[in-house]
Amino acid sequence: MSPSHDHEVQPDSASLRVARRERVVAAMQEAGIEILVIGSEPNARYVSGVPRLWINGSHPFGPGCVFVRDTQDVHLVLTWDEGVPEEIQHEHLHGITFNGANSLKMLQGVAGAATARRVATDGLMGGTPKSMTKAFPQAELADGEQLLLQVRSTKLPEEVEAIRASIGIAERALEAAADAVKAGITERQLTGAFMHAMATQGITTPTTQDIAWITSPTARWSRSSRDVAVRSTDLVALGGGLMAGGYIGELGRTVCVDGVATVAPDLLQRWDELWDRLIAACKPGASGADLFGAYTSAGIELPPMPVAHGLGLGNDLPLVTPELPRTSADQRLEAGQVLALTGYVWQEGVGAIYAQEPVLITDAGPEILSAHPFREAADR
């Protein structure tokens, strides 16, 4: 018997592949980079359009994909051709290897390797500069990490739709977790409920696996244990994300068995005030400092997590976090960015209200991409 061909693994659409590569080529031209050696999975997906096996956690840098500017050749470390589009020929597929010498051979076989003057990598190990010199003897090593972060920061219309679709799936999975919140359930069980609801929708790749968190009335940025039972007055933060079609859908909510509005009416009002200011600041040209300003002008302490980061094939720019004040202030919001925007208020003796919404920045104003934003939920 041969397997049925329903549900075959497909590459990203041809139009998406073409448009993304055009952007990469333009950025490489501007930076004078001829060859891009890619280790990170989201970057490899951006350039190749090929879904590969999902493995959780960080991985040391190693060449997993190579993109040549002038020929638009894509080389991919993948032992088979499932999900590989027609423009990536079999001779540009390279089997998984555990041997650095085989990786080097792949790089040396790339068109123009011998003569390239400037080659970028999106990651580094101690030995990377040396092995890049062996593969590209004429080339200086450049930063492909920032280059690809810049390219990925603003989204094509087709990318926005892909993100919207992922958010829809994440939202339904998060609603399943919210429905499961009752006195006695644990954070761990709520994570299980999210994962189950995600996978029954056909998506098996979470971006976070820490979905539920009983906020603490005594500490602003801590939690007790994943095995503690929820009480009816606990403010329970639910934040979940997944990857569908390569793009992240991610959002956050706060729920309470007895109702957020009943248990923490004042805090909820403060959150609402904060949120209105945050959304109002989401305009092209605004800086990260303007988002911080939304907190400070509402009299609310900056949160212990990023106020905003981009959503796309992974975490994208801008990154607006109190931990990097200068970097945050230097970045400008641009039309086409999708922000994961976080409103976070905490009060001693009460706990925290946390919500994260996906917000598309447009010239006509911000658009919230979730179907049921926390601000508008009647049953908060």
Binding site: S58, N99, G126, D143
Partner: protein, 398 residues
């Protein structure tokens, strides 16, 4: 190499404090030997190893903005942890406030500046090793030696406390697999199996899932599967919402993380049918290959002894997938040193000596083109006089 751990019985529950102290002591011993004053670690699992910090690992796509960093100092028994996550006891891992810090954003120039400033307050000397770089660190103009090797040599040999954690992680994995195996039936979707697996691992105590679980329905002939670079079998292929059919032969592969350790699981299942006589023969052959390999597996054996035994038992052909290996180490990482029969090559295998305290996953396959094949994994602890199984999950329906 670090010396083998003392032969102690695996305790029923691990002493986590002792486990963490043992690890830092190993790292610092190697640092002293190499004259390293400080070891900076960025790799998720290296941070786990050095600090004992437990958090649910997140997807690679989030790593650049959300990565804990560990620093081990030659003159300090406690490591430092720079964390972007909300704190709980398992993340803090017993660290006092002086050693627990906010996030280090080493992908950004500003983050590197802030981190190096903080580091300079505690550095006992100028020699720093690091496991992974970033371009921002490179721009800062510092030089670092290779720190990854320091962790790799330490983590290959497991202490009894570490083995107790691994046993518990494997138990959680297999609890979930029992649930999944019971639901195998025509019409069930692959992703439904994942749904049950994920829900059950979390309820049973897992910290995270580490691999999109593989429920690959194998063709009977390779030509019916995708083209491969090696001419061998395409596996593991991605899980989709495809519905299972009666008689599907499914190769299963999955793993979770628990207390910082990764687990592994590999079996062959058949949907809705008992195995045919031919399928039983394949299993028997797989068993005989595995037994041959196990008969030479002990501390002091070379990896090449294992590969030779496997090849001899398979009539002169390698009974493993050419893009992988006959076996791999398991521990803080899902596939770690020692690699047995990989493309690193025969010279490497001939020089790689197994040591007591290593945990090895053996994954030979049997393939008969036209009739499909069989694959399972056996997880073992290498001991002085042989090996001990780490799990006892059944081979049903075989």
């Amino acid at each position: 190499m670090v010396s083998a751990p003392q032969a102690r019985t695996i305790p029923a529950s691990p002493d986590l404090e002792r486990m963490r102290a043992d690890r830092v002591a190993r790292l610092r011993a190697t640092m002293r030997e190499q004259g390293v004053d400080a070891l900076i670690l960025l790799g998720n699992t290296n941070v786990v190893y050095a600090t004992g910090a437990i958090w649910p690992l997140s997807d690679v796509s989030r790593i650049s903005f959300e990565r804990p960093v560990a620093v081990v100092l030659a003159d300090d028994e406690l490591p430092h942890l720079f964390s972007p996550f909300r704190a709980d006891e398992r993340l803090r891992a017993g660290l006092p406030d002086s050693h627990y810090h906010g996030p280090a954003h080493l992908d950004f120039d500003e983050g590197v500046e802030l981190f190096l400033e903080r580091l300079s307050e505690v550095l006992p000397g100028p020699t720093i090793a690091i496991d992974e770089w970033t371009h921002a660190l490179r721009r800062a103009g510092r030089t670092f030696s290779d720190g990854g090797r320091i962790v790799n040599s330490a983590k290959a040999l497991k202490t009894p406390d570490e083995l107790a954690c691994m046993r518990e992680g494997l138990r959680i994995t297999e609890t979930a697999m029992r649930e999944v195996q019971q639901m195998l039936a025509p019409g069930v979707r692959q992703t439904d199996l994942t749904a049950t697996f994920l829900r059950t691992i979390f309820e049973a105590g897992a910290d995270a899932n580490i691999l999109d679980p593989i429920w690959q329905v194998m063709p009977s002939t390779m030509a019916d599967g995708p083209w491969t670079t090696t001419g061998g079998i395409a596996c593991p292929l991605l899980t989709t919402p495809r519905e299972l059919q009666r008689g599907d032969v499914m190769w299963v592969d999955a793993g979770i993380s628990y207390e910082g350790f990764h687990t592994d699981f590999g079996r062959t299942w058949i949907v809705g049918n008992e195995p045919s006589a031919q399928q039983r023969e394949q299993f028997d052959k797989w068993r005989s290959i595995m037994d041959s390999v196990l008969s030479v597996t002990r501390a002091g054996a070379m990896a090449s002894d294992l590969t030779a035994a496997a090849i001899a038992a398979n009539g002169g052909e390698k009974p493993w997938m050419p893009h992988f290996y006959l076996g791999h180490g398991l521990g803080i990482d899902a596939a770690e040193h020692p690699f047995v029969g990989s493309d690193i090559g025969e010279v490497f295998d001939a020089q790689l000596e197994l040591q007591a305290g290593m945990v090895l996953v053996l994954e030979p396959i049997v393939w008969e083109d036209g009739a499909g094949g069989y694959r399972s994994e056996e997880i073992l602890l290498i001991t002085e006089d042989g090996w001990e199984p780490m799990t006892d999950y059944s081979y049903e329906p075989f």
